[in-house]
Symmetry: C2
Subunit: 242 residues, 2 copies
DNA sequence: CACGATTATATGTCTAGACATATAAGTCAA
DNA sequence: TTGACTTATATGTCTAGACATATAATCGTG
């Protein structure tokens, strides 16, 4: 696990604590229900005051990643389906979090000089090379989503040598490239012949589309379109109000 | 506007500060761009330490309601598109926030004893009467969404006398009934003949569906299904990460 | 006037305490 | 076994300070 936090910028302590815990949750090392260390244990581990770890844990709680219970401790929450889809951005984690078996197939992978439409899709004026990837995710051996992705190699040169045959590009990027901002657009389309074939559904069947763009600072990292069979897949979000 | 914060429970100070500011933002008293009082001013106003107001402001910043800039102050942010769709739950506000003209038509409104399918949809075992409503929202005179709603009259008896001819039920509920929890499910379908007619699109065209359930404590308030033309409507969400 | 250096200031982070409070767990009696 | 009471403990909130840091505003200089 390559700790991609370059030592160049020094994140503050509470952010480091928060990121450490967040990573263990997102990678699945601490699964839903897992009790994370008590505040006093984290105080000892990081050698700081309780307010500092409290701030880290409070933010995780506000983000619904953990649940805090008096006297009992703090626990990893079951991923809100929304979080899984809208925030984590990793289909493998989403599927395994649901307790289903994850399957992945690379359909094609091409390294090429950026075309005009590539540049437009990535929102960059000039680009060198890009990787175009198509792949399929499945849950319990049933097609779950088809993914079309573009990675800007001038932002992520190490992606040129990554092995996307075994590891899905979303997971690889999540573990190798820090991002600062992401945008999702959700819409609905009907399946064309290619989507119908890959997802094993009828042509004209409704599909949910998530277009995601990811940036690190001013640099575009990747643009991805995920197509889900609309009758089987749902995004669920739960809110508290009042 | 029924302020439903009963004085029975005593919220903690930082939560009160946060709620005070939040209300001013949500009611529009402090519009986007408005500079909210400096920490030291709030310290004076509430007679507490800086850490306490800092906690309130930090949470508002994490929720993207305000933006904090060193030396400059804290400012109300422009509402994120996501909030408009996923959180506010009011189409009229969503459309007017986009600067478009809002139109509304009641298609039908029936008051009836709850049928078995009504009870199932509302998730209640026994129910007295319900109101079933169908209506259409439009933006700039173009159909924007069709709404199918069920209101549980045993939870909201005053809805029986509400005038849903002029005021959309979502707005009415938002202003008359406090809610504690809501769940959204987003999916994709193709337009059937009725949806196609109301939305003025082709049969078989893709549509985005949002199913929303709203509760107040243990009681179901309402279940609503919103159908948006899938090629014109999009849900956009932007996140910060890193 | 334009531009670089300085200063003032609001936020960002952190500490070492304090008391409050909800509740898991243990204790004891019916 | 069950229910009521007690206790221990982890989190929740808060304070009165401190220093760091980014930057708007000011000042000086060419």
């Amino acid at each position: 696990m390559s700790l991609a936090t370059d030592a160049a910028d020094k994140p503050t302590l509470y952010k480091r604590i928060r990121a450490d815990i967040e990573k263990r949750i997102l990678t699945g090392e601490w699964p839903p229900g897992h009790r994370i260390p008590f505040e006093h244990e984290l105080v000892a581990r990081y050698g700081c005051s309780r307010m500092t770890v409290n701030k880290a844990l409070s933010e995780l709680a506000q983000a619904d990643l953990i649940e805090r219970r008096r006297r009992a401790g703090s626990f990893v929450r079951r991923p809100q389906h929304q979080s899984a889809v809208l925030k984590i951005a990793d289909i493998r984690a989403e599927i395994t979090a649901l307790g289903r078996s994850y399957g992945y197939e690379l359909i094609h992978r091409k390294l090429r000089a950026a075309t005009a439409s590539d540049r437009e899709r990535l929102g960059v004026k000039k680009a060198g090379k890009v990787i175009a990837i198509a792949c399929r995710h499945s849950a319990d051996d049933v097609p779950f989503a088809v993914e079309d992705r573009l990675i800007d190699l001038s932002s992520v040169p190490e992606a040129a040598t990554a092995d996307f045959v075994r590891e899905p590009p979303g997971s690889w990027l999540l573990h190798h490239v820090p991002w600062t901002e992401a945008e999702h657009t959700i819409s609905a389309v009907v399946a064309d012949d290619r989507a119908a074939e890959v997802l094993d559904i009828a042509i004209g069947a409704p599909c949910l589309v998530i277009d995601r763009y990811t940036w690190r600072g001013p640099r575009t990292i990747t643009a991805v379109r995920l197509l889900y069979p609309g009758d089987s897949h749902r995004l669920v979000a739960r809110f508290k109000g009042g």
